[in-house]
Amino acid sequence: MTSYLLTGVTLPDGRRGDLLLDEGIIAEAGTGLSAAGATRIDADGLLALPGLVDLHTHLREPGGEGSETVLTGSRAAAAGGYTAVSAMANTSPVADTASVVEQVQALGDAAGYVTVRPIGAVTRGLAGEQLADIGAMARSRAKVRMFSDDGFCVADPLLMRRALEYIRGFGGVLAQHAQEPRLTVGAQLNEGPASAELGLAGWPAVAEEAIIARDVLLAQHTGARLHVCHLSTAGSVEIVRWAKSRGIAVTAEVTPHHLLLTDRLASGYDARYKVNPPLRSDEDVEAVRAGLADGTIDVVATDHAPHPDDSKSCEWSAAANGMVGLESALSVVHEAMVDTGLLDWAGVARVMSEAPARIGGIDGQGEPVAAGSAAELTLYDPSARRDFGLGDLAGRSRNSPYLGRSLPGRVVAVFHRGRPTVLEGELRDAAEVAGA
């Protein structure tokens, strides 16, 4: 196995040094390192972040291969600086049995760009009626630890209670898509000035907040772990802050787009900005940034949701929800959190790697950039700036809201299990990466 000597990196805490990657781990960390036979990479001026970990990725396979596959989504992840992703369960067939999660896991292992951890469905077919094969998925080779009906809310309070209790028995966590269905019938856009003017049915903040409030109380009652997917409103931040202050076992994620974009972008009915939960107001953006900075929100998760062009170039109401996000996430967090002074790079490492690895129970990920840690690393040039374009997208779909927008930073190299998946800003070939 080739070893790599990265010289002159800046660590998340600001210190500078060299890193020697060998046999899949960071073998040495220090200054003035040398290693015969190692491939030397001059990383002067580059940040060495722990490989990014996404808790919320739609890889679309099986069933949606026209939009993305495990391989193409893994490539998009690597291009964005990720070394692990969590594959959401809303595939076709739904990941509600051991065989589907084992298939996704195997496809991820074969692709080799990132660790792929399948998320299991909470209910069979995401239908919200009966529990899925939770135990079988937990005991399968995929060892599922996170369960979610994402795309749909586990709305029935009794079923939610039972699911929390049952998953707790396997040491798992339930990731809830918080959306009260009756309050969001036909909903198209955040309910507020934009939806009023555009004549689009409103998706009120209360429909998210009411479910989160209920769920944190159920988590308290059952002693189970709750993870809140794509939290998007100021009120939701307040509820999670209150729950954490009471010692309730709740964690929460925010997407990059909810940290940067608002519902005003819908004014031209460009469906690239259609997403669920919807883009919110300036006040909500301020609140989720503050919540991420103070630890109320634990992680940034992409909700990478690839869709074919014809699902987006149509009437707003007919368009699919979702945007791709893996390739742009780090730059968006850079702009929304670092450039604003709300988070330093150690904080970015926490919310994009360490905390998601811990919450998802993903071994060998999110470890500190130090000797003895797994060699899962992203080298990032924080001084770069680019006009984000189609060439920056590495997956199969192009539904990015950032196309044509100037974003800071650039991923220069990514190491997964000690081997490069990205070098000099370019993805390595699938054949070189596969079968690591």
Partner: protein, 315 residues
């Protein structure tokens, strides 16, 4: 003017230009021969994704009086119901030779998407999109109101200081939205009246007042015009109001409310009317009702819209 998509993006001069052009069109309609050669050889497609016989025949009459060829296309389905997509439908119509597309669509924003898409080179005129806008309806309402106020001397006049009540289901009304922007751009004072369930959330920034008590609004604003909106009775099944009777009692233009209006006030309705529900026949059939004038003026306003978008409105 390449497209007419909304009244939100019309400034006072652009709005007056359309209204004054409509006056010119109306004048030609007093002649023995009503047909003008303006759009001879041009093709206008009425692309209707939603049934609306009234709006379609009004546009059809307008196009024909300008000598355009007219194709009516009732598009069933959509990308939602796995029918033909908006893109394919529009490109097909342009390949047939359309120069202008008049589009009625159930989806808010569909005309804007079509105009911005680059799929077609045709002009796009919004004939009502979802719960967003219905700009030609608002223009004909403003035209009608201006004529009632200023008669033959309407050209160049705006609606400065005119008080208008818009009453009913504001939430689902594209007519209300288009009128809010257009009437206030022209200087009118607009008050929206309806039950709280039927006023949109998030209208605090609109240049209007919004109240719930119709009797108080009539007393307080001494309106020059009361615009009643069509309300679907089925809304009560979605808990917007308890019953048709309670809606009528609170927000219908009943005979007694009609009599409480100032003498000069006119009664407007975009049609079709639910008589006895949102409007009493005494009001609908009175000389102060503009309902039929609105229909007649609609042809003139749509002639102006087609002329300005398709003939480029030669200066």
């Amino acid at each position: 003017m390449k497209h007419l998509l909304s009244t939100r993006d019309l400034d006072r001069d652009a709005a007056l230009r359309i209204l004054d052009t409509a006056e010119d069109m109306a004048a030609t309609q007093q002649r023995e021969v009503k047909k003008l050669p303006t759009l001879r050889g041009r093709t206008v497609v009425n692309l209707f994704f939603e049934d609306s016989t009234r709006t379609r025949i009004s546009f059809e009459a307008a196009a024909k009086r300008l000598s355009a060829d007219v194709i009516n296309f009732a598009a069933k389905g959509s990308s939602v119901s796995k029918g033909e997509s908006l893109q394919d439908t529009a490109q097909t119509l342009e390949a047939i030779g359309a120069d202008g597309i008049v589009i009625r669509h159930w989806a808010s924003g569909a005309p804007a998407v079509l105009a911005a898409s680059g799929w077609i080179a045709s002009s796009v005129v919004n004939a009502g999109d979802g719960t967003h806008e219905h700009p030609t309806q608002a223009l004909l309402d403003a035209f009608t109101l201006r004529r009632r106020l200023h008669g033959e001397a309407s050209r160049g006049r705006d609606l400065d200081g005119v008080s208008v009540l818009i009453v009913g289901d504001i939430l689902h009304s594209r007519v209300a939205r288009s009128n809010v922007w257009l009437l206030t751009t022209l200087g009118a004072r607009v008050t929206l009246v309806g039950p709280p369930t039927l006023l949109p959330h998030g209208i605090g920034g609109w240049p209007v007042a919004a109240v719930h008590d119709l009797d108080a609004a009539i007393a307080d604003t001494a309106p020059d015009a009361v615009m009643m909106l069509r309300v679907q009775r089925e809304r009560m099944n979605e808990a917007f109001f308890p019953s048709a009777r309670e809606y009528s009692a609170g927000w219908g233009l009943t005979s007694s409310r009609f009599r409480a209006l100032p003498e000069r006030a006119v009664v407007m309705h975009p049609g079709p009317m639910n008589r006895g529900f949102e409007i009493a026949s005494e009001a609908a059939d009175s000389p102060r009702s503009t309902v039929l004038e609105q229909v007649a003026n609609g042809v003139s306003v749509r002639m102006a819209a087609l002329y300005l978008t398709l003939a480029g409105g030669a200066e």
